[in-house]
Symmetry: C2
Subunit: 167 residues, 2 copies
């Protein structure tokens, strides 16, 4: 039976929610990773993925500058990195300098891949749309990578940043 | 270690992937439910949600006609309904007439809620953006409902329409 309630209460039924780390370089060439739960696949052919980024986030500037970004599916062991990348602003922090998270250059775009992630997708910026207090960026996937060890991806399991694997 | 591969292989790391059933009425007043895996929250304040719908789907026409839609989080027991609503076209089928899935009128918009879902969100159409072979519809949540029995939502667990709960 359905009961009308407030949005904050109803949306708690969303868990587990998948997590991605999006990475784009700023005008100084600094790669800025940000952890996001609001993401989806957006097209099958050509493959595209979407992310919603808070309009005040430094990531907005980096994606608009470089017009490309990596979407990384962090592995279930990468909760600490995801929490760090999601809690600091890249405006005054070099997140990769402050948190040791193995990375390597992307192959097609000017960005990074996360070496221990379950998968990485290199995207070129296709569109950006304002949605309330967020911007939806759609990226066309131009290269894909998987972990040779078949890692499981990371999820947000409950309110309060409880992260882990889901099955 | 990362290894470059094709997109179809890399995207198999996406599971579990959440499922929603989106419902909108067509010009004849027929409510058309469609099962979608490509969905995300898009804004916090005001709350908005996004869905990506294949451009050839009848749902495109229904959402454009009614300018509103329900996003329902089917409960983990609703796999059969989700499979049915995802495999038929509403163009020549009245899905609610052919598959018995309890529903009730929405409170604010002219659509339906799924009675046994984990939650239902009534949305007014905010924007639509082409993304490859899909259209991204963003809806502003104007009413929210939860199941009084605290149901878990339904996920796609593996390729080949394996649906169930995730934790």
């Amino acid at each position: 039976m359905q009961k009308q309630t407030n949005y904050d209460q109803a949306v708690k039924t969303k868990y587990p929610e998948q997590i991605v780390i999006a990475i784009a370089k700023d005008a100084n060439g600094k790669a800025n990773p940000v952890t996001l739960g609001w993401t989806m696949i957006a097209s099958g052919s050509p493959p595209m993925m979407a992310i919603a980024v808070a309009e005040k986030h430094y990531s907005i500037e980096t994606i608009r500058h470089s017009k490309c970004f990596t979407i990384s599916f962090p592995s279930s062991e990468m909760a600490d990195a995801a929490l760090f990348f999601g809690s600091k602003s890249g405006k005054d922090t070099d997140k990769f300098a402050e948190f040791d998270c193995k990375n390597e250059p992307a192959k097609i775009i000017d960005s990074l891949l996360l070496t221990d992630a379950a998968a990485n997708f290199e995207c070129t910026l296709e569109s950006q749309t304002v949605a309330g207090d967020h911007i939806i960026f759609v990226g066309k996937v131009v290269a894909s990578h998987i972990n040779t060890e078949q890692k499981k991806r990371l999820y947000s399991l409950a309110p309060g940043h409880k992260l882990g694997s889901a099955s």
